[in-house]
């Protein structure tokens, strides 16, 4: 529960946003605080075990911030991409899917909006309905939009096919290209 309370010190930068976001979140925000506490004991507990995110320590922004403001982050990135043509992976929806998508026993990705998968599980608790995935891919596929991401993706598929075992596969991605991918978007931001 305490995890979900704003920390006065660290929040200075986003203070002007808070009233707006609170109004935006409304009741469901409070709902989440309870439900989240009841279901997931700590921040980060919604992360799916088999996803790439499960092997990393950090989200693209501090986890608590992401938990509360991810919709703002995504929306900002949306306009940056659609109008500005900037396709950085750091805040992109495609990036969320790529890192947070879970894999089944056959190493096949599971749709991120499927039941009990990352986005859906929490949104169910918070009673949030998204239409984003009517259009947006729920699996990482056909990501020609970023060279770095493309390389990581190709490499990962090669790793997966050469070493059948999932934990092996996960380790390989963690030590190799995925850490590079986690760092790369940072480097590209202005």
């Amino acid at each position: 529960m305490s995890n979900l309370q704003p920390k006065p010190g660290g929040r200075a930068g986003v203070a002007p946003l808070v009233p707006l976001v609170l109004r935006f979140l409304g009741l469901s925000f409070l709902g989440l605080s309870w439900a989240g506490a009841a279901q997931a004991s700590g921040v980060g507990d919604f992360v799916v075990e088999s996803s790439r995110a499960a092997k990393l320590n950090n989200c693209v922004e501090p986890t608590e911030y992401m938990r509360r403001y991810h919709m703002e982050v995504i929306r900002h990135q949306r306009d940056t991409t659609v109008y500005g043509g900037i396709r950085s992976t750091k805040h992109s929806l495609a990036g969320c899917v790529d890192c947070h998508v879970g894999y089944d026993a056959q190493h096949e990705p599971v749709a991120i909006n499927a039941k009990r998968q990352f986005c859906k599980r929490c949104h169910n608790y918070a009673a949030v309905t998204l239409n984003c995935f009517d259009c947006h891919a729920t699996l990482p596929e056909g990501e020609g939009w970023n060279q770095v991401r493309l390389q990581v993706h190709d490499k990962r598929h090669m790793d997966a096919s050469s070493q059948g075992h999932r934990t092996e596969h996960a380790k390989a991605t963690l030590s190799g290209p995925s850490t590079a991918a986690a760092a790369a978007p940072e480097g590209r931001e202005r």
Binding site: I86, D98, E141, E143, G144
Partner: protein
């Protein structure tokens, strides 16, 4: 800058009907006058703009366009259409069960259509691919009630599907029949090409490629791979670009140029 490009078309329009050679000369003249400023503007960014994914918002330093040489466009060839379908996930759409095949073929979103023209007097047949012409003054943008239909700074006319309400005014306004409406839910989509029921879409010059620093489109690549080289993609504002050189070397025209939309896609041999 757009003024200068406009001038090109207006200059040459005055020459329509005159000898092709004379007209081409006028185009080249106007083009190189425009070029001096462009070169000065673009030199500072030339380095990073082409090589890596974009880190700064698109600007009007470039205006993307195409020259399509109808003489090289082969009858019966659909390489560009197929490549476009694959690149933009259009081939992933599945026909709704129980739908009328003909109706589906008419409604299915497509970004490029192969068009065959026949001059009844002479019997001469011309083939050409027709897609969004990326007008400088796009009628689809004028009529859009939400501002979803817009022209990106680099001249790409597109739809922000987050604000598109699916009213389809733009489809009616487009003189080229370039836009499609997605009538059915889409099961399978690519990360680079989101698509869902209820929005309008059309050719975006493979902007995902441009944004990551490539300067080709799927259709022009496929056309070249097929040995035809009928589609040349490039920067209309760069006087040294192969596109502008090709435009200077032969007469070309805009389809429906009387509308003065100053299209970014031009056709030779028409």
């Amino acid at each position: 800058m757009s003024q200068d490009i406009n001038q090109v078309s207006q200059q040459r329009r005055r020459f329509i009907g005159a000898a092709a050679g004379a007209a081409a000369g006028a185009v080249a003249g106007a083009a190189s006058a425009a070029g001096v400023v462009v070169a000065a503007l673009s030199s500072s960014v030339a380095g990073n703009a082409e090589a890596a994914p974009r880190t700064e918002p698109v600007s009007d330093r470039h205006r993307w366009g195409m020259l399509i040489d109808t003489a090289k466009c082969a009858d019966g060839c659909t390489a560009c259409v197929d490549a476009c379908d694959r690149e933009n996930g259009l081939n992933l759409q599945s026909e709704p069960l129980g739908n009328d095949e003909e109706k589906w073929q008419n409604q299915r979103p497509v970004w490029i259509r192969k068009v065959k023209l026949q001059d009844n007097a002479t019997g001469v047949v011309t083939n050409l691919p027709l897609m969004c012409q990326h007008c400088e003054h796009p009628p689809c943008v004028d009529v859009c009630p939400t501002g979803a239909s817009f022209k990106r700074a680099d001249g790409i006319v597109m739809v922000d599907r987050h604000t598109c309400i699916g009213c389809r005014y733009c489809i009616m306004a487009c003189p080229y029949k370039a836009r499609s409406f997605v009538h059915e839910p889409v099961e399978h989509k690519l990360t680079r090409a989101p698509r869902g029921m209820g929005c309008v879409e059309s050719c975006n010059l493979c902007m995902h490629r441009l944004d990551e620093g490539q300067t080709t489109t799927a259709c022009s690549d496929a056309c070249a791979a097929g040995g035809h080289h009928a589609i040349l993609f490039g920067d209309l504002k760069d006087p040294d670009s192969p596109l502008r050189q090709a435009m200077a070397a032969q007469p070309s025209r805009q389809i429906r140029e009387e509308l003065e939309l100053n299209t970014g896609v031009r056709y030779a041999g028409l």
